[in-house]
């Protein structure tokens, strides 16, 4: 049993690093199709009675390796995102077990603000957040301040933070509106802001946390989760 689980952990790790969500996926070079991916391997592990907590550790371990490969230039953004997606699929499989065990994933709300339909950055941020183990509530694009506030109110207890994105200087101002409304409703949540139009100065002005890109956003989200303990 110990030997089997070790082999399984190694395979899960390998497939996270290769960014393979399931058996249909290709690896980095276009191979491995038909071999079990993260989804099938996690299912097998759960059936074999392996604790979800240990599987999460294994996934996190793999993502550390992916992060290192990215830093050294061996991995590019597509590799990073593929791995994050594989983790996200793995977490979905684990979800029922985690809930049963009373383990709750930390939530993050993300949205492109009202008037803006640009969402590449927001989507990358969401993918990376899922890969980091967050439960992401993606409200999409052109989202009104009221809708964001409503969502935060409903899910309040588990929400770690809110990520807002805007590409246009004209729609960027709506980030300030969201924050004002959150304060009016006494919702003391940290807000991460990013997007081409946004600057550090603007973030300071509206009392938000500036993120230069999706990757910095994920690092800051992790810090927020840590602070929350």
């Amino acid at each position: 049993m110990i030997k089997i689980s070790e082999e399984l952990f190694a395979k899960i790790k390998e497939n996270v690093i290769k960014g393979r969500r399931n058996e249909k996926d290709e690896d980095l070079e276009g191979g491995s199709v038909g071999e079990p991916g993260v989804k099938e391997l996690i299912e097998e592990a759960l059936e074999g009675g392996i604790e979800p907590k240990r599987l999460i550790e294994c996934i996190n371990d793999a993502m550390v390796t992916v992060g290192k490969k990215f830093e050294t230039g061996e991995y590019f953004v597509p590799d990073m995102l593929a791995s994050a997606e594989a983790v996200s699929v793995g977490m979905d499989v684990l979800e029922p077990q985690l809930s049963k065990g009373g383990i709750k994933k930390e939530k993050f709300v993300v949205a492109t603000v009202e008037g803006d339909i640009h969402d590449i950055g927001k989507n990358i941020f969401a993918m990376m957040l899922k890969g980091a183990g967050f439960d992401v509530i993606d409200l999409g694009t052109d989202v009104s301040a009221d809708e964001i506030v409503k969502t935060v109110k409903n899910e309040d207890a588990e929400i770690v933070g809110i990520g807002l994105s805007a590409l246009l200087t004209t729609t960027m101002e709506n980030m300030g509106v969201v924050i004002e409304k959150l304060r009016e409703e006494k919702l003391e949540k940290e807000v991460l802001v990013g997007g081409v139009a946004v600057s550090n100065e603007y973030a300071d002005k509206i009392c938000a946390i500036y993120c230069a890109d999706a990757f910095e956003g994920v690092d800051k989200a992790k810090e927020l989760a840590k602070k929350r303990g």
Partner: protein, 492 residues
């Protein structure tokens, strides 16, 4: 074997226009004919039915059409060029528009680049800037250049690109040393012209020692047979005759200058150049039927302010394309040119000028594109930093020109599109990975920055490459070479 990139060629000239140029070239070779300062060449033409008139120190040759058409048929379509490393050998097929790039010229000047820190007197801002220094090329530079070109993936062959001007280099030891410096530092095919014809057999013997008896020659030669307009030079014509006798591949290289030594009109320069090259091809085939030759098209336009060469002129590119199309018409592999900058410094102007000809020469389907790396100030200066940049940009051209795979890609893409539309993020990044890993996609511009930063990054890359060990000629073979030939101690 280095396969090159098979292109669907850009045909600027229609078939009927090519035939008209061919006829014009035949007509030029009949009248006014070609002037030869070389007696043997004149005699060979006379023995084969050409009309010869003798003048003071030269002969005027009027070549009949039939002789030209008959001789050109004998020039082989396929020329095989070997290399120290078999994987680097080339098979040039004059009928197949498969493009390869290499270095060229025999640059007199090396442009050294250093990086220095400067502080603005006005604002106090600190910046790093490249500083340049010109100096005469040496045999060590040639070694370094060959080493760099060995490691740069887009360089398909090495044409010695430094004129070695060390104090101890003489007419007697220049040929052996330039070939040795090249062969010892690259395993790619090596080509050069000859300084002293008496050394031809030495160079061939040395190359044969190095190649270990490989069938395809690991070196080949350039003979700049004519001086434009239409004059066979005494020495270089003799070079062609002797190299041909030994059955070594030779480029019959001509370089008419539109506006000075050739008509400025595209049709005029292409027709004159074609006549000059055909005269050389005929001579080679009369010396030895079936001798391997390349159609050496090297035309350019001149500047109107000082009649200097203007490689970056749009017309230069028109002449290039004309040359490539004429070579293909005869089915003779084309040695063409690309990538010469008129700029004296590496960077923006040089790259703009180079990219235009890199693209057009490759688009036209030339089999053997020389000059493509590192040249500045026409062909007079070589910059290693620019050489590194050119390697990347030639890589861009190669990527752009690679064959399409519509059916296979549509099959994949349709699946991907359906898959991605089912996700919340709607990103295709995952499917880019295998193309990235297969080396088909250049991930980003690696020398990103302002003009100065780009050069500084290129210099760093050069340093990294030159830090790698050289794949030298094996020791036992070297020993044999040194026993027979005077190779300078410092490059052994």
């Amino acid at each position: 074997m280095r396969k090159g990139v098979l292109v669907k060629p850009y045909e600027r000239l229609e078939k009927a226009q090519i035939e008209k140029i061919h006829e014009a070239s035949l007509s030029i070779l009949r009248d006014p004919g070609i002037i030869s300062y070389n007696r043997e060449a004149a005699e060979i033409f006379a023995d084969n039915g050409a009309e010869i008139s003798s003048n003071n120190g030269y002969w005027r040759i009027s070549i009949p059409e039939g002789l030209i058409e008959e001789s050109v048929k004998h020039a082989p379509s396929v020329v095989k060029l070997g290399a120290r490393e078999k994987e680097n050998s080339l098979v040039l097929d004059g009928k197949e528009p498969r493009v390869r790039f290499g270095t060229g010229s025999e640059a007199n000047v090396i442009l050294d680049m250093d990086v220095e820190d400067f502080v603005s007197e006005k604002s106090g801002i600190e910046r790093r800037f490249p500083v340049f220094q010109r100096r005469r090329g040496t045999v060590k530079d040639l070694c370094q250049s060959a080493h760099l070109c060995e490691l740069l993936e887009n360089v398909d062959f090495f044409l010695r690109n430094v004129n070695i001007q060390d104090d101890d280099i003489t007419d007697d030891n220049k040929d052996v040393n330039k070939f040795y410096a090249s062969l010892n530092n690259t395993t790619k095919h090596v080509m050069a012209g000859l300084t002293n014809l008496e050394k031809l057999d030495d160079v061939i013997r040395m190359a044969e020692l190095v190649s270990g008896g490989r069938k395809e020659p690991i070196i080949s030669f350039i003979a700049c047979v004519t001086k434009s307009p239409l004059q066979f030079i005494k020495e270089s014509t003799q070079n062609l005759i002797e190299m041909t006798k030994r059955n070594y591949p030779v480029v019959i290289s001509v370089s008419p200058q539109g506006g000075s030594t050739a008509p400025i009109q595209e049709a005029g320069t292409v027709a004159q150049q074609n006549a000059e090259i055909l005269a050389g091809v005929v001579l080679s085939q009369l010396v030895r039927e079936g001798a391997p030759v390349l159609y050496g098209s090297n035309p350019l336009r001149v500047r109107m302010d000082n009649l200097d060469n203007m490689y970056g002129a749009p017309e230069t590119n028109q002449y290039y394309i004309g040359g490539v199309q004429m070579a293909r018409f005869y089915g003779i592999p084309c040695y063409s040119a690309a990538g010469v900058g008129d700029s004296k410094f590496p960077g923006i102007e040089a790259t703009a000028e180079k990219m235009m000809s890199h693209l057009f020469s490759s688009l036209s389907g030339a089999q053997y594109v020389h000059y493509a790396f590192g040249l500045l100030e026409g062909t007079n200066t070589l910059s290693f930093e620019q050489l590194v940049l050119d390697d990347l940009h030639v890589g861009f051209c190669k990527s752009m020109l690679r064959g399409q795979r519509i059916e296979e890609e549509l099959r994949d893409s349709l699946e991907d599109i359906r898959e991605v539309m089912g996700t919340s993020h709607k990103m295709f990044t995952r499917y880019a990975r295998k193309y990235l890993r297969a080396g088909e996609v250049i991930p980003f511009y690696p020398f990103d920055g302002d003009a100065n930063e780009t050069l500084i990054k290129a210099r760093e890359r050069k340093g990294d490459l030159l830090a790698a060990p050289v794949e030298e000629i094996p020791g036992d073979i070297k020993k044999g070479v040194f026993q027979e030939f005077d190779v300078l101690e410092r490059i052994r």
